[in-house]
């Protein structure tokens, strides 16, 4: 027995002659939120479909709890939000969710769930009249049906306005707090940065990174960016002294590796009043992502 809700072991998937997933392994514990990042075509959606049992594996193994993907137990305990989901336009939100609740085989408070995702007023209108964001919310409502053990969300925020995104992540947090293992495939790096516990990056079907954001930054050793604004005409002098580059009239930019950051800062502080201001930008997920996702390409 393991305490992981989702176990993916050495999964390989071939499509014709191309290999879409190479030996991917990933574990998600109950209550953990893991972001799955990667370019279009990196294999994120394929990986999710193999977890759902919709696509057979070429090699490797996946366990959802203790069940095989696609088995009745796995399907009952897994919730899924497809990318850019759409429903039959002739049904109302309530009818659609009621169908899902019945397919799930349990009594659910359909109206309550719709209220919760902000569709309380629209639940008896036809889905054909819904906006993209409303359809996405309806999709999210069906994720919440029946306390899933594993939730797989494929690009959940695509097409949502900023407020809706906030709501969505609040709901994801709640899911995780109730013990659901959440796997989010996404492009929206800045959101994922703040809202997930761990980050896995796929590149051309290969998992190139899988750790917390802090550890990934440390491993990548990406430089911190220091931007120093000089008083008066001292920019040249500062650039020379620190080995940085002049950006414009009064600024100098220095890139320094994590372990030399304090040393540089002390150096700059000791320069006295020629320095008007220092701005420090640590590497962000975007830089990390670029680092890991492009690593092998050069």
């Amino acid at each position: 027995m393991t305490d992981n809700a989702l176990i993916i072991d050495n999964v390989r998937k071939d499509r014709g002659k191309t290999t879409v997933l190479h030996d991917v392994s990933l574990r998600v514990a109950p209550g953990e939120r893991v972001a799955l990042l990667g370019h279009n075509g990196a294999g994120k959606s394929t990986l999710i479909k193999t977890i759902l049992g919709l696509t057979p594996l070429t090699a490797g193994q996946i366990r959802v709890g203790d069940a095989k993907p696609g088995s009745a137990v796995a399907r009952r305990t897994t919730a899924y939000l497809p990318e850019a989901v759409s429903f039959h336009p002739a049904l109302t939100g309530r009818e659609q969710l009621r169908l899902f609740a019945r397919l799930d085989g349990q009594k659910a408070d359909v109206a309550g769930l719709l209220d919760r995702v902000g569709l309380g007023d629209a639940m008896d209108r036809r889905i054909g009249a819904y906006s993209k964001g409303m359809r996405q919310r309806l999709g999210l409502a069906q994720v919440l049906l029946g306390n899933p053990k594993v939730a797989l969300l494929d690009e959940p925020t695509s097409g949502l306005d900023p407020i809706s995104r906030q709501d969505l992540y609040a709901i994801i947090d709640e899911l995780a707090a109730n013990g659901t293992a959440v796997l989010i495939a996404s492009h929206a790096l800045t959101e994922v940065e703040a809202r997930t516990d761990r980050i896995a990056i796929l590149r051309k079907g290969v998992k190139v990174a899988d750790d917390t954001l802090a550890n990934l930054s440390a491993q990548a050793g990406l430089p911190t960016r220091l931007r120093i604004r000089a008083t008066g005409e001292h920019a040249d002098q500062i650039a020379e002294a620190t080995g940085g580059t002049r950006m414009n009239g009064a600024s100098v930019e220095i890139l320094c590796p994590p372990d030399r950051k304090m040393e540089k800062l002390r150096h700059v502080a000791a320069m006295g009043d020629v320095v008007a201001d220092i701005e420090m930008t640590p590497p962000r997920l975007e830089d990390l992502y670029r680092h890991y996702a492009k690593e092998g390409l050069q």
């Binding site: 479909k49 759902l52 009952r76 497809p82 039959h88 049904l91 009818e95 659609q96 397919l103 085989g105």
Partner: protein, 273 residues
């Protein structure tokens, strides 16, 4: 069981709401009424009641209309869901693929049965009211409705098959139109051509009738004509139907829905959304 019922109930809501049910019923009703009134002239000369003549005309109508209406509902069943992206979601729920397909089939067949019964039933009632009806012609009407539903079932299932094999709903629609053309028009033309070439040789006498009932649309026609002397007389099509054993056409029309559904089920199993 509840899953199958919820799929069927949801499909029923869709058919009601997008007015398919209403349109199909109106189409059936209008055509059936038009044929009943237009076809009432020759009653006296062949000596059958007006309902019999009406059933004969409606049999000819149903050969074209039942497959068409059935394909119109079913072509979208899988390809449409796949295109909307809701198929993968539906398949991530515990309902099995067979259950899903059977649920849709039940709802679609019920809608088709409703349209057929109202359309043919109303036309039949009017014909009986104005021109009289006997036990035999009422039987013929009931047989027409029943066999039309069976014929519809065949093409519903064939529509699912096409829908499972297509990449998009548009492709499925195109394939469905092709399917209709082959089964309802081209097959008969081909057989006709073969008979003309053969004259009254072995082919015409022994192979042709079997080839004819192998097609569900023709089996439908043969069943309705062979089973009622009145209809046969009114339609003037007696020859081919009488060389076959009586069970041939009914067997074909009963086997076809099972065969087509099994094929559709097999094709759906292989769909990777």
């Amino acid at each position: 069981m509840t899953r199958f019922l919820s799929i069927a109930a949801t499909e029923m809501i869709i058919l009601r709401r997008n007015r398919w049910l209403m349109m199909a019923t109106i189409i059936m009703l209008l055509f059936a009424l038009a044929l009943t009134f237009a076809g009432s002239a020759p009653t006296g000369s062949v000596g059958v009641d007006m309902l019999t003549v009406s059933v004969t005309s409606m049999t000819t109508l149903s050969v074209y209309l039942a497959p068409l209406l059935a394909l119109m509902i079913s072509f979208d069943a899988i390809a449409g869901e796949a295109e909307r992206g809701s198929l993968s979601l539906l398949l991530s729920y515990p309902a099995g693929r067979g259950e899903i397909l059977l649920g849709k089939f039940a709802a679609h067949l019920a809608a088709l049965a409703f349209a057929m019964t109202i359309g043919f039933g109303a036309a039949g009632a009017i014909a009986a009211w104005f021109g009289g009806a006997g036990a035999e012609s009422l039987m013929a009407l009931a047989r027409l409705i029943g066999t039309s539903i069976l014929l519809g079932a065949v093409f519903l299932a064939l529509g699912y098959l096409v829908s499972a094999l297509s990449r998009s709903a548009t492709a499925a629609a195109g394939l469905s139109a092709g399917l209709w053309l082959v089964f309802v028009v081209l097959y008969d033309l081909g057989l006709l051509g073969a008979v003309v070439m053969d004259g009254s040789g072995d082919f015409t006498r022994s192979i042709f009738p079997w080839l004819m009932v192998a097609n569900p649309a023709d089996a439908f026609r043969v069943w309705n004509i062979a089973a009622s002397d009145g209809v046969a007389m009114a339609s003037g099509m007696v020859g081919a139907a009488q060389t076959l054993p009586a069970w041939a056409a009914p067997l074909s029309l009963v086997l076809w829905p099972v065969l087509a559904f099994t094929l559709a089920r097999a094709a759906f199993r292989r769909v990777e959304p």
